[in-house]
Symmetry: C2
Subunit: 336 residues, 2 copies
Amino acid sequence: MPTVTLKDVAKVAGVSYATVSRALSGSPEISEETRRRILKLCKEMGYTPNSVARSMVKRHTDIMGLIVPSLNNPFMSELTAHLEIYARTRGYNLMVCNSSYDYDLEKEVFSLLVGRQVDGIIMIPAGHESYEPLNALTSQVPTVFISENMKDYPENYVSVDNHRGMQIATEYLYSLGHRSILYFGARSDSKTHQLRLDGYLSTCEKLSIEPHVLRSSYTRSSREVGYAMGGEYFSRPHQETAILCAADMLAIGVMQAAFEAGVRIPKDVSLMGFDNISFSALPQIDLTTVNQPFQQMAIAAVDMLLERIKNPAAAHAKLILPPSLIERKSCRALGK
Amino acid sequence: MPTVTLKDVAKVAGVSYATVSRALSGSPEISEETRRRILKLCKEMGYTPNSVARSMVKRHTDIMGLIVPSLNNPFMSELTAHLEIYARTRGYNLMVCNSSYDYDLEKEVFSLLVGRQVDGIIMIPAGHESYEPLNALTSQVPTVFISENMKDYPENYVSVDNHRGMQIATEYLYSLGHRSILYFGARSDSKTHQLRLDGYLSTCEKLSIEPHVLRSSYTRSSREVGYAMGGEYFSRPHQETAILCAADMLAIGVMQAAFEAGVRIPKDVSLMGFDNISFSALPQIDLTTVNQPFQQMAIAAVDMLLERIKNPAAAHAKLILPPSLIERKSCRALGK
DNA sequence: AGCGTTATTGTAAACGTTTCCGTTATTGTA
DNA sequence: TACAATAACGGAAACGTTTACAATAACGCT
């Protein structure tokens, strides 16, 4: 309760508090003897340096803000876990804010974080119409996005190659003999989902197959949305042989709907996801999908942010990581 | 970049900075006219209050620390999501730290957080042998645990009634006709798991059935651990008709092992979990389990912490929430 | 007219550090 | 022996707020 300050230990040590500060900070301009004496005294008195006072004068907090649309989605929480762990090894703590897929909330917590003087912000955008208003915000503090470039302005970001990922997925399905592939996606004004859709569309064209697209009116790729979309789809006549989902969670929801509708996967229809969340590896799910290198993305994002903090004037950076196919049991080759 | 401070706006407004501060804080001792004028000026100049400077003088940060063993476990991440969202409505931000189930790391990040001057800490303990060393720590800052009481000392906590939960589970299995029930648990020096095990054990005694317990050497209740335990169990002769797991993630791992070993659930063996994470509701998993009221626990924890922050001297509080049975398809009634 | 209130504003200290600069004592060098 | 250089430390300002206190002005009252 009665917190002991640097002043307190200076007083009992009989030195100025500049000296104590020097002892703690490992400054060379202090004798080894007094340093040892003071350090010992600090332990004894239970002194803990006050980071906020230090931040005040050093003009940085060693805190990164993280804005994430949801933590219930394993894609987000796995990413968050890696982000936090790696950031801490670099001496930073994470202040985590949930935007709940709400655009206004995204802006609100962004401002809140800059008020808190975070040194930088990592943002996983929920994916809304336009991000110009954020523009004014991102000029206030180094920011890196985990997501591909928003349409409105340049920025720092790291992402998988979403376009390429969906190309891989579509080609894989094609190679299995599928010619009628349904694409299930979230609302496309999210850049990420725009690119995924585009990857599908352009590959369809290249392969000369007709694209079929079903888009949710929601921007979130949750199990619930997939379940609802799947339920509706299966309840009506349909003849696609494969469903390609924009996210694993969507696919898992579809799988659930398929199960309830009595359609068997992959016997009646093949199913693919995108993300490769850990649950997709469960034998009961066993979802063929496209892998996002979570840890690599997390490390790259904080490294990139660190770089921007050091040098805010530098040019915008981007890093696009390669996706890879994870072949499991939710797709089957079409017999001839 | 060149951040505008309160002093700056005071200068252009031609008033003292005390006046600006009063305008911002909604103090009554200022004229409506100057307040409006100053507020407008703040917008124009893009002034953002510096929370760390404010924290310096007000001697609180409006930040809560959260220490969580893992974010990959949906139990943790769902809880974290609720915690963060609710805390923010109460004006607090969350600084999240992953302890990675490491006892030393738990202590380390705890100290780190008090150095950061968080107003309080919410901790989900990983569950280790003894928590006396933490005792010295928790005296430094209001702390509430999400978990039942550690063995060593009094504290604030909120939890489900773990003992009762396992009693419910065991009785349910018994009511289905099971007389040989295997308990799969994590290392029992976690109080939570001790209580769960105890709930099972005491109910067995009450029902006069013989308890069978298999404990992992790991303290974490992950899918991997469940998978390993299950794999080993199924590879050897076994005759229990039901498996009761200390956590859903464990059960899901066991389910995976069962699948690979060719044992069918619930036909060959019934399976129960504990937690009711959202994934357990998937039709492919459909795990009968014991529910923990996540949101209620989260709200209670931050409310309790708020209470302790207001009144640190008050007696320790505890809140034990009732668990409930979630009946799904992973258990079957034994025919006669 | 004089005086006590009240409303509004300014002054300055304080929060706990870091760091620049100055001071003293000690050492080395000529 | 004298002087410069260095090592070790103290003093004080600064970071951006809040707030106790003082000051001023305006007003109402007798």
